[in-house]
């Protein structure tokens, strides 16, 4: 009989205690981040989608050679002064975000960006083309002067 009464007391006291705890959480600010509107501040060296700043690219193909999975496609045509870069593409299906391509780049134009939400419905869409019309590869100042002197 005593246990019967103490059980009832325990039930009510623990239920109210529990409700107090949930009430406290109800008043707290939620920890949710409203994703597309709010985002994490990413660390500086975060490795997002690889990005190439084409106007500064010398099309030396060092990055393509460094890439362990060969996912950078560079195509060129012409020789000497007529040399044009017709394609610079990165296949993000294969990319392993290792950042090895950024290291040999002479002009530091290929970088790891801070983008990460590039979901697509088709695999093919993950091959990003950076060059539309053929572009004249960038020439660093010293190299450009040497070439002029030769001419």
């Amino acid at each position: 009989m005593v246990k019967f009464v103490t059980d009832i007391w325990d039930t009510f006291s623990t239920v109210f205690k529990g409700m107090g705890i949930t009430a406290r959480y109800m008043r707290k600010k939620p920890v949710t981040q409203q994703f597309p509107e709010e985002r994490w501040a990413l660390p500086d060296r975060f490795r997002g989608f690889v990005h190439n700043d084409v106007p500064r690219c010398t099309s030396c193909t060092l990055c393509a050679k460094a890439c362990p999975v060969d996912c950078i496609y560079i195509e060129m045509e012409g020789k000497g002064k007529d040399r044009r870069m017709t394609r610079f593409a990165i296949d993000y299906n294969k990319c392993i975000w290792c950042s090895l391509c950024t290291e040999p780049c002479p002009t530091n134009c290929i970088t790891m960006s801070h983008d990460y939400d590039h979901s697509v419905y088709l695999r093919e869409k993950l091959v990003y083309e950076f060059v539309g019309d053929p572009v004249i590869p960038f020439k660093p100042k010293k190299a450009a002067r040497e070439e002029e002197a030769e001419a």
Partner: protein
């Protein structure tokens, strides 16, 4: 209500029978609208409360401010869904079940007293009527479980039947002392007995204190809410008696459940919390009565939601233990005690 309609110039020429039917249809339409809107509001608030208790937001996008129209969007989605039924289902029973569940809630709404003149039907046996109609829900639950031809649904339905039928006893016994004191089953009369200052509310009368707690807890079991949601335990029975339902049929179960929550809260408010009276005589103007009544009922619904996200569910044997070995003896003793005290005092 048909007297009001006959005063409208457009309808004044119609015979009385037509007006009565018109009045019934329009009252039914109003109630249906209230249940739909109210149910959607409760579903939204349930998700919001659940979210905040779990340190997240809940729905945030549909409808602009804090996802208020989320339930509407869900309703549209459920309407457009394919209606799938099990091949070996008992079709008539299976079709009838969601309607029975919804009907139980719908019929109870008819007598809810939102104000002295703001009630669908002012029945003299209002409380009895509510108890009777709310047992229709269990018929729906059983026919859903049996008709689905599914083990989980049947288990859920059997649990539901056992639970609802058992808990109706302490529920009724808890209400009886109040009925004895007011001498009426009419919900309006019960409320009028609590007029005036807040200490007239039956909750604050020490003789009805035990009744109130028994009522609140049994009503949770009556509407299958946590911690008594054994008929629909997701972790063991998939989703209990409505496992096999999709689309609009499922929506009816859902809406019926939330409408039922409101009904038991409203009856709790009527019987114990002073109904449409605010507890301060100065505030008791007839225009505020429906508002006060609805706010109080919403508060009890909120408590039900709050409890749902606080407590784990009971085991089946614990559920039966609580009903038969705790509530019924206490409710009976309470009833007897009240009778004795009343006789001695009078």
């Amino acid at each position: 209500m048909h007297e009001t309609l006959s005063n409208l110039p457009l309808l004044s020429g119609l015979p009385a029978q037509v007006l009565v039917v018109l009045a019934m249809v329009s009252a039914g339409g109003i109630i249906l609208g209230c249940i739909a809107v109210g149910g959607m509001f409760f579903i939204w608030s349930e998700r919001k409360v659940a979210g905040y208790i779990q340190s997240r937001y809940g729905p945030m996008y549909v409808g602009g401010w804090h996802g208020v129209l989320q339930s509407l969007a869900d309703g549209v989605k459920l309407l457009l869904k394919e209606d799938i039924w099990p091949e070996k289902a008992d079709k008539p029973l299976w079709r009838m079940a969601p309607l029975l569940v919804f009907l139980g809630a719908f019929l109870s709404f008819v007598v809810l007293p939102f104000g002295p003149n703001f009630v669908g039907a002012n029945l003299d046996i209002g409380l009895f009527y509510v108890m009777a109609t709310s047992s229709l829900v269990v018929m729906g639950v059983i026919s859903a479980g049996w008709g689905s031809n599914n083990k989980w649904a049947l288990y859920g339905a059997l649990r539901g039947a056992a639970q609802v039928i058992s808990y109706e006893i302490p529920l009724g016994l808890a209400l009886l002392p109040v009925v004895m004191s007011t001498g009426s089953l009419n919900l309006g009369t019960i409320i009028q007995a609590q007029a005036g200052w807040i200490h007239n509310w039956h909750l604050l009368n020490p003789l009805f204190f035990v009744s109130f707690w028994i009522y609140v807890i049994s009503s949770l079991a009556e509407v299958n809410r946590v911690p008594f949601d054994l008929p629909e335990t997701e972790s063991e029975l998939v989703s209990g008696y409505h496992t096999e339902y999709t689309g609009m049929k499922f929506a009816f179960f859902f809406l019926g459940e939330y409408a039922d929550m409101f009904v038991v809260s409203a009856i709790g408010v009527t019987v114990f919390l002073g109904g449409w009276y605010s507890g301060i005589p100065a505030l008791d103007v007839p225009a505020l009565f429906p508002l006060i009544f609805i706010l109080k009922s919403f508060f009890l619904v909120f408590v039900q939601i709050w409890l749902r996200w606080t407590l784990p569910r009971l085991r089946v044997d614990q559920l039966m233990y609580v009903c038969w070995k705790v509530f019924i003896p206490i409710a009976l003793a309470n009833l007897l005690l009240y009778g004795v005290i009343r006789t001695v005092l009078s």
